[in-house]
């Protein structure tokens, strides 16, 4: 997909190209309304489009389930009575599912457990759904931080992508909601930790292990590209492992690398692209493996802290992103090349203690991309890395994901069977609540503040927080509920003796309705 609009606004996850263009429309009509109104309108339009897409798809899925069951019961040798019983079973569960769809979801529905990530923007925490006992990862973001650091678009984009893309390669979003202080994303919990953790533990990966994870990363990245999203910030901490060791793409970093703090670095374009002085050239051309070993170890320890800080890391970012030139999906393939280098060599190709220096190295990749004599890597691996860490025009993936898959290094990969096959690495996971593959965080904050207000719901949905319109999302898994909800539901059959208050309440309710229907307009 060449020719991406260079004016598409930067964000960790960009909106669809067409939609972004709509937002940037310079129609003279639009100028008569305030930015707040235009923002509300854009959010309302997207909410409605998403709604109808999901609504109609939901109805179609329901028809498909019914038809599939009908076909199944007809093929089986069971009595007509049993057939009817099975149909009634499905109907009851569909009705339950429909009720769940309009049930409001909020913090009271979850029991908060271990913190597995913490940063300036908020935290990621294990939680348990009180109703079902299911374990999720709750990502909690401070609204005030989102607003003050210009993160609103980032948050909206992430939520929209997670809600829209239903893929085994992407962490699943189950619910999103908000209160007055926080945004909440209730996501699939992946207990295997992330690739960063794996790299910190293993130092380097064998080519077989690296090949497996680079291949799964390609499928994950491609699945968001197919939905016209550019991730733009792919790095080892965004590549999460499930309990079986399969990889999913996410964004647990809680940070946005390109914020105002770095504009001073990025604004010095001439300095980044020029090689003005010999001493500077020598300084940033120093390869990572020539650094003292303890300094490299320190860099790795700092790396984890960076993942949860407001600044994050730029080490995997494509040069066209850093230079704020137009970029497209190709920038994600660059990031993959940097990750592959780190998997095989032990550190990113352009790493530095100084983020400014890292930027310079990336922009001057032609000079700075080098390979150490040790550890040895195959010629094919080196070739693939060099074809990913290069100019956009000659970068693999620019003309489609197939040209990456066809590279000789991936010989033997069964692309269709990757997620069904045994993973190259099996994380140690003990039980559903295991967090050993995540960093430990002390419970300094204690239980969350009770001051955050929840209602009224409607204002959470629209007017009070213009920036977070339509944030609520629910993706109940009908198939899971079909399998698990075998227990009969007990209807509350105990009728209380009506009290005077109850009787008055009922009368009032009836009065609320009846007078309206009797008030007919004059002819």
């Amino acid at each position: 997909m060449d020719g991406y609009d260079a004016t598409v606004r930067l964000g960790a996850i960009n909106l669809k190209h067409g939609r972004a263009a709509d937002f940037d429309s310079a129609s003279p009509d639009v100028s008569v309304s305030s930015p707040v109104t235009r923002q509300k309108a854009a959010a309302a339009k997207q909410f409605i489009e998403n709604h109808y897409k999901n609504y109609l798809q939901g109805l179609q899925d329901r028809k498909d389930r019914r038809r599939a069951l009908q076909r199944k019961v007809q093929e089986s040798q069971i009595s007509a009575e049993e057939q009817e019983e099975m149909m009634r079973n499905l109907e009851r569960r569909e009705t339950e599912y429909m009720r769940l769809q309009r049930r409001k979801i909020g913090m009271d529905d979850f029991e908060q457990l271990t913190v597995i990530g913490k940063g300036a923007f908020g935290e990621v925490r294990l939680c348990r759904a009180k109703g079902t006992g299911e374990i999720f990862a709750m990502k909690k973001l401070k609204k005030s931080e989102m607003l003050s650091r210009g993160q609103v678009e980032h948050v909206r984009s992430e939520r929209n992508l997670l809600a829209e893309v239903d893929s085994r390669c992407i962490v699943k979003l189950h619910y999103s909601f908000q209160d007055s202080d926080f945004l909440y994303l209730i996501m699939e919990y992946l207990p295997g930790g992330d690739i960063m953790t794996l790299l910190m533990r293993e130092d380097i990966l064998s080519e077989d292990v690296a090949r497996f994870y680079i291949a799964e990363s390609i499928l994950a990245i491609h699945s968001i590209h197919q939905h016209n999203y550019v991730h733009r910030d792919i790095k080892p901490d965004n590549l999460i492992l499930d309990k079986n060791g399969h990889l999913k793409l996410s964004d647990f970093g809680l940070c946005k690398p390109l914020d105002d703090k770095y504009s001073s670095i990025l604004l010095e374009n001439e300095d980044l692209t020029g090689q003005e002085s010999t001493s500077e050239t020598e300084a940033y051309s120093v390869s990572p493996w020539l650094m003292p070993k303890e300094r490299l170890q320190q860099w790795k320890r700092n790396r984890r802290a960076l993942a949860y800080s407001t600044v994050g890391t730029l080490d995997y970012m494509a040069p066209e992103v850093l230079l704020k030139k137009g970029y497209g999906i190709e920038c994600d393939w660059w990031s993959l090349g940097a990750i592959m280098y780190e998997m095989l060599i032990g550190y990113p190709p352009f790493c530095s203690d100084d983020p400014r220096m890292a930027c310079r190295k990336i922009v001057n990749w032609k000079t700075c991309l080098k390979f150490p004599d040790e550890p040895k890597i195959s010629a094919e691996a080196k070739d693939l890395i060099c074809r990913l860490l290069c100019d956009v025009d000659s970068r693999l993936g620019t003309r489609g994901v197939e040209e990456i898959k066809a590279h000789p290094w991936f010989k033997g990969i069964q692309w269709d069977m990757l997620y069904e096959s045994e993973a190259a690495y099996k994380p140690t996971v003990t039980g559903d609540l295991d967090t050993q593959n995540f960093e430990k965080f002390p419970e300094v904050d204690g239980p969350p503040s009770v001051t955050a207000s929840v209602g009224p719901w409607r204002k959470m949905l629209t007017s009070k927080d213009n920036n977070f319109i339509g944030y609520t999302f629910k993706k109940s898994d009908i198939l899971k509920s079909l399998e698990s909800s075998d227990a009969d539901i007990r209807v509350n059959g105990s009728l209380k003796t009506p009290s005077l208050i109850t009787l008055l309440g009922q009368i009032d309710l009836q009065d609320t309705v009846i007078p309206e229907s009797e008030q007919k307009p004059e002819a």
């Binding site: 109104t37 309108a41 109907e91 569909e94 429909m98 409607r458 309710l509 609320t512 008030q519």
Partner: protein, 214 residues
């Protein structure tokens, strides 16, 4: 029952005495064909096989409430007490608010005030576990459909106000396809289940006839 009789004699809805409108309908028709192309809404409103009618009414009521809430929310800059002194739907129709409980006698209020009362009231119904049960297994009340009908009648008034008073702003914000789609779905659903009396639909009669030819 005579204790509440006083409220019955009042009307929240009456036609205003003024000249009939002609140009509004023509103007509306200009943008009426714009929709999101959201598949077959006529099929989508039908009760799914085996589904409980009340459950189907409930989930759709919540959806329509959310849509109207969002669409009206984009117009708060323009729908002000100064610009919309009354909750009007064109020159012939004006709504006055009464909920029969806190405000028994219909009062004339500005459009934004009316919508606020209206949406707060609807939300109170949606949040009322005895009317819209959220727990699995809890039954709907016997008068559930009557509550739904009142909700739909009132939601229609917001659409009527938007189309008559703010449609040009909707077009400026490029929302007409979204508004039209939501309204079309709303009307198809209303007619499928007989939720709004025909007379109540008069303010947008011409628009509705393009959706459901009689």
């Amino acid at each position: 029952m005579s204790l509440f009789g006083i409220g019955r004699n009042q009307r929240t809805f009456r036609p205003k005495k003024s000249t009939p409108s002609g140009s509004k309908g023509a103007q509306l028709r200009k943008h009426i064909d714009a929709t999101l192309g959201s598949g077959n809404l006529r099929e989508a409103v039908k009760l799914p096989p085996g589904e409980d009618l009340n459950e189907w009414l409930a989930v759709n009521t919540v959806d329509f409430f959310n849509q109207v809430n969002l669409l009206y929310g984009t117009l708060t800059e323009f729908c002000t007490p100064e610009n919309c002194r009354t909750m009007s739907a064109g020159p012939k129709y004006e709504y006055r608010w009464a909920d029969g409980v806190q405000i028994k006698k219909p009062i004339e209020v500005s459009a934004p005030k009316y919508v606020e009362y209206l949406m707060d009231w609807i939300e109170a119904q949606l949040d009322d576990e005895s009317i819209f049960p959220q727990k699995l297994g809890s039954p709907f009340p016997p008068n559930f459909k009557e509550v739904v009908k009142t909700i739909f009648k009132r939601l229609f008034r917001v659409y009527a106000h938007i189309y008559h008073s703010h449609f040009q702003k909707i077009v400026s914000l490029k929302e007409e396809a979204h508004l039209n789609t939501c309204f079309k779905h709303f009307i198809l659903f209303t007619c499928e289940f007989g939720l709004i009396d025909k007379k109540e639909l008069a303010p947008l009669q011409e628009l509705i006839e393009t959706i459901i030819p009689y």
